[in-house]
Symmetry: C2
Subunit: 210 residues, 2 copies
């Protein structure tokens, strides 16, 4: 069976995929065109696929999926209500930045997990980053209205900061995660640095300051 | 190739499935418990499956899916913004009532279509009605707080009325649909009566006046 830390990471990832599904569906509902709506709806459904994959895996390990998610509901819902996008573009940036940071984070920490769990987590987070649509749509919107760049850059910075402090809070609230990160204490500073560098690279790719 | 009326019906059904996906995802986001959230998210994802099935079929008939949906976007969006649920239970009733009426409607009109299109439409709308969850969850909520019954009954009546008038408007705006319904003019009154009877039966099943 998987370790308590692995169960926690699968639980928080599954809940964040469920939230991403809801958020991208809301972005689909507010999309400025039918093409955008259909793209975002497909992205959203993809997040739901990940959620189901993670639930199936948790069940196969004898863990009731909802009980694995439950500890992360309040923290995650608070994060989303504090960081509600003010418009459609902020919604896209939230997905782009959030999926990127999450993918980097889970890829790093999966090094501390058993190989099956690590493989599933890597598969799920890589797939989340697959969307060409997101990058090209954001570039297009910024090119159309260069004034939005400053606002979106600021929003990206806030998201990065909030996600790091959120991850720290969540890790501190779960004994198994706290223990894992304590064991890897000499890695944590390096991890945060690498997340920051990768985040900057993604913001650069949109022509946004980070 | 399929008739223009069949293409219109597939287009409006596909767009309504896409809207149902968005709406149920919003209901998932506002769900009072994690169990409800997960159920509604699955329902939502199911609607997206239907949307994709219809798009694949339209493509296989040489029809670009988005062009088939496009004529129905404004009417459908207007309906949804006029009939926005005020709370979570009104959202559930909207899905329950709307899926029911839509299923009855499409099953009836599929009798005027080619067999392949009719089979697909029947499959999609039957599957939408599959949810045991919706009926039992609504019964439970009404039993917990009998005062909501009057408000939900009224809401169900409004939905029924709006859907009939919406369907009439949409049919009148598309030459192929108008022609089809004119040819079947002696059936239309009977159709509306049957929709009303079935709607009453579904409201009765919840213990709500219709």
């Amino acid at each position: 069976v998987i370790s308590p830390a692995a169960a926690d990471l699968l639980g928080v990832l599954a809940y964040s995929e469920l939230c991403a599904f809801e958020r991208n569906a809301a972005d689909a509902a507010g999309a400025p065109s039918l093409v955008d709506k259909v793209e975002l709806a497909r992205l959203s459904r993809h997040e739901h696929d990940h959620f189901e994959q993670l639930c199936v895996y948790l069940s196969s390990q004898g863990i009731e999926p909802l009980s694995a998610l439950e500890p992360f509901v309040v923290a995650w819902d608070t994060f989303h209500s504090n960081m509600a996008p003010r418009d459609w573009l902020e919604g896209l940036i939230k997905t782009y930045v959030g999926d990127g940071i999450a993918a980097d984070f889970y890829r790093e920490v999966s090094a501390y997990l058993d190989t099956d769990t690590a493989a599933l987590i890597n598969e799920v987070v890589s797939d989340s980053q697959r969307s060409e649509y997101m990058t090209s749509r954001l570039r297009e919107a910024i090119a159309e209205d260069p004034k939005v760049a400053g606002r979106l850059a600021l929003w990206g910075r806030r998201l990065m900061g909030e996600m790091i402090s959120q991850a720290t809070l969540v890790a501190g609230s779960r004994p198994a995660l706290q223990e894992m990160f304590t064991e890897q204490a000499d890695q944590v500073e390096g991890l945060i640095n690498r997340l920051t560098v990768e985040h900057s690279r993604r913001m650069d790719a949109l022509g946004l300051a980070s």
